[in-house]
């Protein structure tokens, strides 16, 4: 019988890599500074020892090595490219958007591109505007890509395993703020998580709160706090930015009649916007109040510890939005 253990998000990613590399000898990992210590965020710990030669330390050449990831995926089998910070994906966008995402289509279905581009994303501390961004919306806009933004260790493990068994290019974004977080994860190596399937992390009756990445945890805390006031919040981790589990969200809103979407990335054209727009389109008659989005404001991330908080949605913002839709 499979058992549940509490492990960190980082360990969950590591387990997914390890289990799938055991299962599929074709899996390769390319990335910067991944040896000997397992990378800047340490997710590859112990893998080089178990799978010598399958972790390839690359030069600082993301366009080059992600392009090679496309080629290696086309020529047979899953490849993982780690981009050290999601912000640096700007230098290999062509390889992701014009190559990986389009090859199956342009070749009329001949090509499979099992390329997983993994990148830590989101807010850090004192690292400034070029090391803190969240790009799930950019990739969710591109047909041919799947985009994972797991909010829990279980989602991270299940989705990464699923990506590695699939034949599609996946942008796999890991919120840096989650790496040390613990959560229950099954030890069944055959348990995958389905792309496009969200998860109800807390059932509730009064408001639907769709909260991704770090916002999931802020949202759960807010839900716990507001429960004391008798407000019963349903908290959903969408888990993927593409495809989005609209059915789950719409069904929830049908019950709660109220929607708040919380997203760490910048508001405009975000995943939060997409979810809000879809509910306004398909769930309009369920809604008893305006939808509310809580997201990063339209500013680059500042450096100073006194400025950083202004650039990020806080628990208080989520709580205020919930109170508004209940007003």
């Amino acid at each position: 019988m499979a058992e549940m253990r509490e492990i960190t998000f980082r360990e969950a990613v590591n387990e997914a890599l390890r289990e799938e590399m055991r299962r599929d000898p074709r899996i390769l990992i390319l990335g910067e500074d991944i040896l000997p210590g397992g990378g800047v965020f340490g997710v590859h710990g112990g893998l080089d020892e178990e799978f010598p030669g399958r972790l390839l330390q690359t030069p600082i050449a993301e366009a080059g090595f992600v392009g090679m990831g496309v080629g290696a995926a086309l020529a047979g089998g899953p490849v993982i490219c780690e981009v050290m910070f999601a912000d640096f994906m700007t230098v290999c966008m062509d390889e992701i958007i014009n190559q990986a995402a389009k090859f199956r289509y342009m070749s009329g279905g001949q090509a499979s591109v099992p390329l997983i581009v993994r990148a830590p994303c989101g807010m850090g501390r004192g690292v400034g505007a070029q090391h803190t961004q969240s790009f799930e919306a950019l990739f969710a806009h591109i047909p041919g890509l799947k985009v994972a933004i797991p909010g829990t260790p279980a989602a991270a493990k299940g989705l990464l395993k699923s990506a590695l068994r699939g034949d599609d290019p996946v942008v796999f974004l890991e919120y840096k703020g989650l790496y040390a977080m613990r959560g229950p994860v099954s030890d069944d190596p055959e348990l995958l998580a389905e792309f496009g399937r969200g998860s109800v992390e807390r059932p509730g009756r009064d408001v639907t709160l769709v909260a991704s990445g770090t916002m999931l945890h802020k949202g759960l805390e807010v839900a716990a706090e507001l429960a004391a006031d008798g407000v019963d919040i349903e908290v959903i981790d969408p888990r993927c930015a593409a495809p989005i589990d609209h059915e789950l969200i719409l069904a929830s809103v049908e019950r709660t009649t109220r929607l708040v979407v919380a997203d760490e990335s910048v508001l405009e054209c975000s995943l939060a916007s997409e979810i809000a727009a879809t509910v306004a389109e398909r769930g309009f008659y369920s809604l008893d109040a305006p939808v509310r989005r809580v997201a990063s404001p339209r500013m680059p991330k500042p450096f100073s510890p006194k400025l950083e908080p202004a650039s990020l949605p806080q628990k208080a913002d989520i709580a205020a939005a919930i109170r508004e839709v209940l007003a």
């Binding site: 080059g64 392009g67 080629g71 086309l74 390889e95 199956r104 342009m106 699939g166 399937r197």
Partner: protein, 334 residues
């Protein structure tokens, strides 16, 4: 190679080289003809004048080798063994096109023969070819990966990112620059600060050579050495293949930037097919009587391909929804 079997081998090679050149020429002449008749959708980038480059490599390549190509990719695809009828149907946007009508000329691919695609992004092929080469080495195969690109594409940084990694990791990648003197209508002298592009790779310690890309035998000879070395475990190499583009950048380019005389002179002096005929005749290897039938056969083959493609079915609009993602697999999901 003065033995009879050497003579036979040389003769066979010469026939192969010429056959491929004339097939590429005939394919593109037929495609341009159909384009003029409105049967080709979108722009066509013809490699006429540059046929000796892919043709020179063709006899050296196996189906399990890989090739990545450019917007000017018909010759590369044919040299790698792609089916001309499927290619032609693709240019016409038909359902039986080699990419089901979804790619068109700039995205022709035939994965069944290791042709990993023409590409609409200049400089995108380097990484893809190198990644395929990584798979070759991982699997312990002795195959090679060839990346074709234009001289204009040498200005893209991806070349250097990938060249450095290929040397570092000793990957079997043959870089073939089709140095035709133009990037669209910009002469190379405005695009690259040096004409001696092989020298740009010398700093990496990559074996590099300039070759007359209008001479199929020279191309073949140079590539043979490099490829043999790679199959034996060697790393990447670079060929600066000099040739000329007889047509405009594409079928929509009226070539206002160069004179008709320039083009006529090139056709008269630097036609790889004519040069090959003259040289092989002079060397006594092949006679006109050997090559004329190849021309006729190629023309017939490509006309038939065009006719058959024209008779092919159009895709159904609903087909547009296929091939976006892989078909779903059954899994245990948590």
């Amino acid at each position: 190679m003065t033995t009879a079997s050497g003579d036979n081998a040389a003769r066979a090679l010469h026939l192969d080289l010429y056959r491929m050149m004339t097939r590429i020429r005939a394919f593109e002449e037929a495609a341009l003809y159909e384009s003029g008749r409105g049967n080709v959708y979108g722009p066509l980038h013809a490699c006429i004048g540059q046929e000796a480059i892919p043709a020179g490599l063709a006899p050296l390549l196996r189906p399990t080798d890989y090739v990545t190509s450019t917007h000017r990719g018909h010759g590369h695809a044919l040299a790698k063994g792609a089916d001309p009828q499927g290619m032609m149907a693709e240019l016409f946007g038909r359902a039986d096109g080699i990419c089901r009508g979804k790619g068109g000329s700039q995205h022709i691919a035939d994965f069944s023969v290791g042709m990993l695609g023409a590409n609409g992004i200049v400089g995108a092929g380097y990484g893809i070819a190198a990644g395929a080469a990584l798979r070759i080495r991982q699997a312990g195969r002795d195959d090679v990966s060839v990346v074709f690109f234009g001289d204009g594409a040498m200005a893209r940084g991806t070349l250097h990112e990938v060249a450095n990694i290929c040397v570092l990791w000793k990957l079997p990648v043959l870089f073939v620059c089709e140095h035709n003197g133009f990037a669209q209508w910009v002469p190379s002298s405005e695009n690259l600060c040096t004409d001696a592009v092989a020298g740009l790779m010398a700093g990496y310690g990559m074996p590099s050579r300039q070759v007359d890309g209008t001479d199929a035998l020279a191309m073949h000879g140079c590539a043979a050495g490099f490829i043999a070395d790679m199959r034996a475990g060697g790393g990447p190499a670079f060929i600066d293949a000099r040739a000329n583009r007889f047509h405009g950048h594409n079928s929509m380019d009226a070539q206002a930037y160069r004179s008709r005389d320039d083009v006529s002179r090139l056709r008269a002096e630097a036609d790889p097919l004519a040069l090959f005929r003259a040289a092989t005749a002079a060397a006594g290897v092949l006679a006109a009587a050997d090559m004329d039938p190849l021309d006729a056969a190629a023309e017939a083959e490509m006309r038939a391909a065009a006719e058959a493609a024209l008779a092919g079915p159009w895709p159904d609009p609903a087909d547009a929804w296929e091939d976006i993602l892989a078909p779903r697999k059954a899994h245990a999901h948590g």
